[in-house]
Symmetry: C2
Subunit: 315 residues, 2 copies
């Protein structure tokens, strides 16, 4: 299992290329909520989400031979863009496998960072076959979206930055998709601020980790149903689960219907754009799921890449 | 005429209540533009616009007698909210006179900061009569939206903060409505960084200051037509004009049609919400009206209070 030294090393790798994103706060939110709240704004990260951190740290770790052959990832969203930009910065070929029904805006954004996009069918099977076929043919290195130590260490730099700025934090709320972000942040938290409770947040329609955490075994859901597109993973990774069981204090859920009001609040009151998945941890704080009062809490805004149609719906 | 010491004094008055707003930058924008660009994000200021600064500094300067009687302002937008919040913080009565067709959201926001809202007719005449009637009856002190030394000094703290962070700035672009923001910023600029060129920006449909600057006399337009609602003043104030003629290097204009693309860019690429007037100075930089290359430029984003319908149109 990785430890804080891996995060520290990722931090040094990233410090000249990733943004040190701001910690935002809102007087109105604090007054409404009764706690002292901070939001780690990874929507301001390069590519608009924390995913750049892990992807860059992973690609920085590749051997020359691997770099020459190029890199592959499957993603219809932020992970693909993170890998694409990281590869561009290293001058490495990036191939991103995307379902053929991916939003045109996501395809364009991924291509915009210089990646080659290959379309695949909609099933997991089809995606894996397409990806494996390309690996077999070209020798590409696969960059997994969450079940990877270098990736986890990169995402953990989010936590490192938070504790660099806030002392005596009572609670840290982190969204859980595949578990990369929370596993990295939990390692950072327990090293830098052992008293801080680390709380994972999922939506009810994608509560695999909530179930896994309670049953103490890795549960894989047959299907998920949530507007938080970054949470549509059927289970967290094995490496992630191990770290979560060791360092995370609790996993809670919110309802999908709490997401849009949170996004609207961020837009109207704080003037920032937050994507549905990015609003999940803040919504758990806003709804005060844990019934806290007078505590110092930080929630991670994981990203800000919102489809224009989704945004219109919110308004 | 006020000088930098007045701004310094406003800065001390404001430092514990106003936000020190961030200076944002975007790699993509820099690459597209060929200059090194910074944006002073007053959309993150309290009430969502720089107007809080001037209003607070003005109200802080009132005598006890004036405070007891209360304050009045006419505004359908950010100035009203700035005065309302400043009065709330001082525990002073605030009366805001608004045209009866003001957007419900603006009325609610102003009331939300604790002000009493009085409606008036749409003409300047009607508004002035209503306001004067209330002043005669209750002895309220009028807080003018731009033609006031304390107000100008407050707005000038925007400039002071910019030069605290950026050295050797070549150009500072500031939007011009009534001229409060630019006159304060120009005084700060010429004191802290005399080599920096200060450029005022208006829209073509509200180019009173552009004309005044060229003709060297204060021009009042018969009417204005622009989507930048903060620029719908027929002329700048007399105090503002005097400072502008002394310290501002040029006044330029952009077209209304350049505003929405700039707002869209801010939202999609930088994940921040900027109001039409707030996008005017950045748009002058984005369109590179002055044909600059390799320069260090800063544009002030004056605010972020966007009507939901306007935002839908942009998307």
């Amino acid at each position: 299992m990785i430890d804080f030294s891996d995060i520290e090393s990722a931090y040094n790798t990233l410090k000249l290329v990733a943004h040190k994103t701001p910690l935002l706060s809102s007087r109105i939110f604090n007054e409404m909520n009764g706690n002292d709240l901070y939001f780690k704004a990874e929507n301001f990260q390069r590519i608009g989400a924390f995913k750049f951190r892990g992807a860059y740290n992973k690609i920085a770790s590749l051997a020359n031979e691997e770099r020459k052959r190029g890199v592959i990832a499957h993603s219809s969203g932020n992970h693909g863009q993170g890998v694409a930009l990281a590869c561009k910065l290293f001058g490495i070929r990036a191939v991103i496998v995307m379902p053929h029904n991916s939003a045109a805006s996501k395809v364009e954004a991924t291509k915009g960072y210089g990646a080659e996009v290959i379309f695949c069918g909609l099933s997991t099977d089809d995606r894996e076959k397409t990806t494996q076929g390309l690996i077999d043919k070209h020798g590409y290195t696969l960059v997994h979206p969450y079940n990877d130590e270098k990736l986890i260490a990169g995402q953990g730099t989010v936590g490192r930055e938070i504790f660099q700025e806030i002392t005596e934090l009572d609670y840290l709320f982190v969204p859980i998709g595949g578990g990369g972000l929370i596993s990295g942040c939990a390692i950072a938290a327990k090293h830098l601020s052992p008293k801080t409770k680390v709380i994972g947040v999922e939506t009810e329609g994608a509560n695999d980790c909530y179930q896994s955490f309670r049953q103490k075994k890795l549960i894989k859901l047959p299907l998920v149903n949530t507007i938080a597109d970054g949470m549509r993973t059927l289970s967290v990774g094995t490496l992630n689960f191990e770290i979560i069981m060791k360092y995370v204090d609790d996993v809670i859920t919110i309802k999908d219907e709490d997401i849009y009001p949170m996004m609207k609040f961020f837009l109207e009151r704080m003037k920032i754009l937050v994507e549905p998945t990015g609003a999940v941890a803040p919504a758990a704080v806003m709804k005060n799921v844990l019934g806290l009062n007078g505590k110092k809490c930080c929630a991670v805004i994981s990203g800000g890449n919102v489809d224009a149609n989704v945004l219109k719906q919110i308004l």
